[in-house]
């Protein structure tokens, strides 16, 4: 059944038992919404030098957007920034593939649980759900880096 390709067990697991949910201390906070379905996320990023030391978040949304935030947290927290960007880029590419990208070993290694979202990429209306938290993270990180840069320059 096609449903299973979207709602893989991994995704349902993350949805039911999200990683790192809740707002904690951070260097920058953003609030993103998906106007078409009312999904919302508040997300904070904490950097420790080059390391993403925390991504905390809260909000409401569908299973896909909730699970993807959980996967983001699991996958990116603890990584160095340049590695984190690579993961981000790979996830973006996967989500924009309209189901045409068959995850290979290299991708599985890089994206881990996030490859489970390959099935979601076939549903244009849901891709935005999967990307909500990832776009929020990108935005928050840019703010955090900007503030860090400003602090330095002061």
């Amino acid at each position: 059944m096609k449903l299973d390709s979207m709602y893989q067990d991994v995704i349902l697991d993350h949805y039911k038992h999200p990683h790192g949910r809740g707002l904690r201390d951070g260097d920058a906070e953003v609030h993103h919404t998906n106007p078409t379905c009312g999904d919302e996320i508040t997300l904070r990023v904490k950097l420790d030098g080059e390391i993403v030391s925390d991504i905390s978040y809260d909000g409401q949304g569908c299973s896909i957007s909730q699970a993807s935030a959980s996967v983001l947290n699991e996958l990116v927290v603890g990584k160095k920034l340049d590695e984190a960007w690579q993961v981000h880029g790979a996830f973006l590419e996967l989500m924009q593939s309209r189901g045409r990208l068959e995850p290979d070993d290299a991708m599985e290694e890089r994206l881990e649980d996030a490859v489970a979202f390959a099935g979601v990429s076939k549903y244009p209306a849901r891709v935005k759900c999967a990307l909500l938290s990832w776009m929020a993270w990108k935005d928050a990180t840019a703010w955090a880096l900007g503030e860090a840069a400003e602090k330095k320059s002061v």
Binding site: M6, Y15, C37, G38, D39, E40, Q60, C62, S63, R126
Partner: protein
Amino acid sequence: MTHLPGLLDTEAIRKDFPILDRVVHDGEKLVYLDNAATSQKPRQVLDALNAYYERHNANVHRGVHVLAEEATALYEGARDKVAAFINAPSRDEVIFTKNASESLNLVANMLGWAEEPYRVDAETEIVITEMEHHSNIVPWQLLSQRTGAKLKWFGLTDDGRLDLSNIDEVITERTKIVSFTLVSNILGTHNPVETIVRRAQEVGALVLLDASQAAPHMVLDVQALQADFVAFTGHKMCGPTGIGVLWGRQELLEDLPPFLGGGEMIETVSMHSSTYAPAPYKFEAGTPPIAQAVGLGAAVDYLSAIGMDRIAAHEQAITAYALERLATVPGLRVIGPPTAEDRGAAISFALGDIHPHDVGQVLDERGIAVRVGHHCARPVCLRYGIPATTRASFYLYSTPGEVDVLVEGLEYVRNFFG
């Protein structure tokens, strides 16, 4: 099969709608419950479109050749049909637009550019309600920003009805226009037109009714409603996309300024100045949606042949049955009036804390098409503190069997995310 009193012969009716035979996702029969978003089209309407394009297509008005005469007769004939359908005192009060949104914007723009006593400006007030479709909110926000007029609105009660307790404070001597929906596309609520019209008339305000969710489903009599303008859209009432209607009282249409300028809406043009044709042409700039008007005419014929009162009774029966069956689904909460009284055939609900997106996706996999989201009525979601709803909406071809499939589907959804 469930038998309810008042049902139409859906077996016969469904044969008119080719799409209802469609099978989706390799083998699931389509159960189309997204009628508040748009309706399906009967064969009769498609035939009218094809006949128009294959035999009569020409630009209307001004032509002396036979195709132009035929196209004009078909286009103007559609106007006659729509006028009769809504019991308009005159065919010249029926303006064809591209959709209900354009009809609503047209009125907002006319009032912004009007002379006294109609002119909306910084001294005046506009009244809408919290249950409006975005297409009946944003035009007024724009008008209010551009003229300085104050935008006010009626709030909602907990069970999804208009809170009119402060009607005398909301509609005042400063009010120029009251614009509200006859039937809500998200809550299903059928609003008490008479109370509002009476108060508006007291203070001399104009009334615009958004009948987008009413025209497809019940007898619409613009004279009985006593509004000044009534807007609706073709694609929700078995007609094509690309066509809407604005009905307006003749004296108003004569007095109010045009909206779009161009061919068809003029009387005489020189480089220095122009004069405008009488209504409805004054408001129909450019080549109109000719084929779409003809298609809407065929839709109106189709609906009238069945009878709008019988369609309303059918939907009432289906809605009552659906409300009753949905009440049996654990965790399901209807957003809107919980009974079929004063209510249309759109039912919004929350299913526990399963997000509507997930509900809709899983239902879709079983062939059940519902709509999820804020349904272009986000203020309603804000009012009830929910991000979105799942909405099932019925039409003349909907059956109790489809309600049963929906209810089974919702059980499946609960288990899936349980």
